[in-house]
């Protein structure tokens, strides 16, 4: 069991690039289960999901996104009120406390991919760079699943 967990973590880490600068905190962020749905053309925004786990001892703050796939990637948050009305707005900076995880998942936080430059094709991946407040960055290869995918498993 332990080895399968280790294998999973190792597999997830394959998607994560090395930190590009000497930084404090963000090098301890592990990105897991990144996924997105295929798009129809490039006229509508896409979304990407993942879990960010802070394995370090300092809080880490995600401040922005970059990707060649979209001109305007940004962290958005969907909120649903007591009456079942959902709406979406930019989420601002996302702080991940030490030892905790923040999930970008349907119906909550998500990487909103506005002004797509290319169609999101099922089976392909795209690089998404996470920018942290300490100057560190992570580039994740996000798998593009089918348009009707319900989670990282499809």
């Amino acid at each position: 069991m332990k080895s399968s967990i280790a294998a999973t973590i190792f597999a997830s880490c394959l998607f994560v690039g090395l930190p590009t600068t000497t930084v404090a905190g963000s090098e301890d962020v592990v990105v897991e289960n990144a996924w997105s749905r295929a798009s129809i053309g490039i006229n509508r925004p896409g979304a990407a999901y993942m879990t960010l786990r802070n394995t370090g001892t300092d809080p880490v703050t995600l401040v922005g996104l970059e990707t060649p796939l979209a001109m305007m990637p940004d962290i958005h948050e969907t909120k649903t009120d007591a009456n079942g009305v959902s709406s979406m707005a930019p989420a601002g900076e996302i702080m991940i406390p030490p030892g905790e995880s923040v999930s970008l998942e349907p119906g909550g936080l998500h990487a909103m991919l506005m002004r797509l430059q290319t169609k999101m094709v099922e089976g392909e991946t795209f690089p998404l760079t996470l920018n942290f407040a300490d100057g560190g960055t992570r580039t994740v290869d996000v798998p593009i699943l089918g348009i009707a995918a319900r989670g990282p498993e499809g």
Binding site: G41, R44, P45, A47, T78, A82, S87, R150
Partner: protein, 190 residues
């Protein structure tokens, strides 16, 4: 008279069950699906065109990157799992963004999730009337970064209507397909 009372009692019971589960707060259970809209193939459709089938109705817009694709994906999974019983259920995605969502736009978007799902749109007036009938809320939210400078807020429940068009209940956004399927099968006695 007795039949009427029995029907009301049954509908009330079913509604209470569904509403408890999904924490719905719709005060009057006795409302009916009532609309005249244009489908994604350009055909006029009314509630009567779907009489005899259970209707799964939800509201959204094609430029919606998170909630709408997620609900469409869940509904697609439910339809898949219904197999031959899928013919008894008609999923309807009603646009609350008539400004952008022409039938052509919906034709590109909605059937990509599942060929059985019908996208419906209409004039701003028709959509307003439909949302009043269904007691759902929607609003245009100005947001410079969004495509065309706006996004939409909207009721995100999945509503169930019986083959007579009567409201049965609703699932809140995020209810997994497996749970919707189990509930739906129980309602349909299949």
């Amino acid at each position: 008279m007795l039949w009427g009372l029995a029907t009301i009692a049954i509908v009330g019971f079913v509604w209470l069950q569904v509403s408890t589960r999904s924490e719905q707060r719709i005060d009057d259970p006795a409302f009916r699906a009532d609309f005249e809209l244009t489908d994604h193939q350009g055909m006029v459709q009314t509630d009567e065109d779907f009489a005899g089938r259970w209707m799964l109705v939800f509201f959204g817009f094609a430029n919606c990157p998170d909630v709408c694709p997620t609900t469409l994906a869940e509904v697609a999974a439910v339809m898949d799992a219904l197999c031959s019983d899928a013919a008894k259920v008609q999923p309807l995605f009603i646009s609350i963004d008539p400004e952008r969502d022409t039938p052509e736009q919906l034709a590109e978007f909605v059937p990509a999730f599942d060929a059985d799902i019908i996208g419906l749109t209409g004039t701003a007036d028709q959509i307003k009337r439909t949302t009043e009938t269904f007691r759902v809320y929607f609003e245009k939210i100005e947001e410079a970064a969004s495509p065309d400078g706006y996004t939409m807020g909207h009721s995100s429940q999945l509503f169930l209507f019986d083959p007579q068009g009567g409201y049965v209940g609703a699932w809140t956004y995020g209810t997994p397909a497996e749970e919707i399927l189990a509930d739906l099968k129980a309602r349909m006695s299949i």
